[in-house]
Symmetry: C2
Subunit: 319 residues, 2 copies
Amino acid sequence: MNIKISNLGFYLPEKIETSKQLAEKIGKSEDWIISRTGVKERRVSIIDVDEMGAKAVQSMGDLKKPNLIINASGVGKQVLPDTSVFIQKVLGWSGIPSFSIHSTCLSFMTALVNASGLLSAGLYDRILIVSSERGTKGRNFNEPESASLLGDAAACVIVENDNLTKSKINYWSMSTWPEGANLTEVRGGGTARHPHDSITTFNDNLFHMKGPKVYRMARKKVYKLISQILVENELTQEDIDLVIPHQASGSAVQAYVKYGGFPKEKVVDIISNTGNCVAASIPLAMAISHDNGQLKRGHKVLVIGTGAGLSAAGMLLTF
Amino acid sequence: MNIKISNLGFYLPEKIETSKQLAEKIGKSEDWIISRTGVKERRVSIIDVDEMGAKAVQSMGDLKKPNLIINASGVGKQVLPDTSVFIQKVLGWSGIPSFSIHSTCLSFMTALVNASGLLSAGLYDRILIVSSERGTKGRNFNEPESASLLGDAAACVIVENDNLTKSKINYWSMSTWPEGANLTEVRGGGTARHPHDSITTFNDNLFHMKGPKVYRMARKKVYKLISQILVENELTQEDIDLVIPHQASGSAVQAYVKYGGFPKEKVVDIISNTGNCVAASIPLAMAISHDNGQLKRGHKVLVIGTGAGLSAAGMLLTF
């Protein structure tokens, strides 16, 4: 699919919460947080996901209107309408078709693949994908590890058809294993444990993660996925210019070096200053690495990660 | 896009709630409900959306596994993981990539278009789309009109590449106007009005609709959309074999006859016995009309509707 990510933007909320500040709230030390999660500080947003997303879009500069908007986020502003509508509203636009794609932390990747399909089919020629997450609203301070991981951010890209450059998606693979469905959850907010249901507990409305179990399951699945991608594309680690992983945790990002066989300088690692920003982590890592010159036009990029489900996905991208 | 809806299924919960039974709960008469909404009875599910969706899938009979599952629903089982994971879990499958697409009542249509893009791009060759809605859980009995409209149902289709028959999507158009964002809402369940926020009210977690305003805005938009579709495809109402509209309300469905110019017998109308089943209404109307012989292979079908946003979408389909 000859598609090109022609523009990237992001928004990091102004307010920084250091792990020292968070330590008091969760009854752990700063060192405990950093050694367990790799997160030194995260952003905490006081504005909602639609405004955050719009700020990311505005950071791209003078913007020609897209002809489709996809919100690619794990948690919405409200149950309905979907968040894409509110992002469009904040941007002052009207009439642009909008919908949401949700596969938790992999939402940006699934949205990018869907956008590529729509571009290939000639249905749209300029698609805006926005991931905007305010995970700090769902932190459970009685679950110190997951509470330490989450951070707020928004990031976005414009995707267009492109037959002039070599930009394209070269490969896509995703798998979902529902036996991991209960490892990472927000059990409330839907029909199963509606806010008014008597069975719904306080914690059901907060983020819950069995961290070590997720890490073990994810590491095995991702290890196999990397091998599969390299073998099927007849590549080695050396052929990849940059790895943009989901920023699940410090150890999850480092695993791409330790077990994945990629040199440290080729793996985008922003988790210490941003935390796990759910679906926004991947486009944020992409936008920041593009800004600082790490990600360059023509680069062969491996975008990869895991999400609640448990799902794992990998994409080879010629940027 | 040469794609074919190769199989269809649906699930209607056993429990029927008549408008006479509902009348007591909302302080209105049976006649008031039927004259306002066109709904004589609706189903009320005691099982959750994942099990409902799985039952719809199982109704398709002996089933070859799909290589992608898209949940296309307005309201999820829980905030995360997304509902597709739980549908896969109930079906006893594992490893199939799964995600959700959400554009409220138009979720099935946007999912079908995205699936077509993925099929065209050669990424998948057998996609399962499931819409499963349990709107009765979010009814506000102090808002009699919207409470009378909602019903529960699940429906699904298998979409495949097909170059042997004439089956295809001939045309697609969607628009979203955020100035209508507050006309149809469930304001809670997300980051804006989290269940723990002090500003969150009881009603924020229930379905809210400004019925007459939605109807007026939607009717104008849909009227224009029909004209656009017919003109751009050089068709008249007579060239359309069947209209499958979203079952928004009795008057919304009848408007395709009264204002849209389609003969009554060509407009699929199931609202009196099922109510508005949010995203499940369109695939349910499709599956039921296929079952009863109204929808036939080779038919030129107009699938059309509106959703919270406010969005309107129309699709020309050679079935």
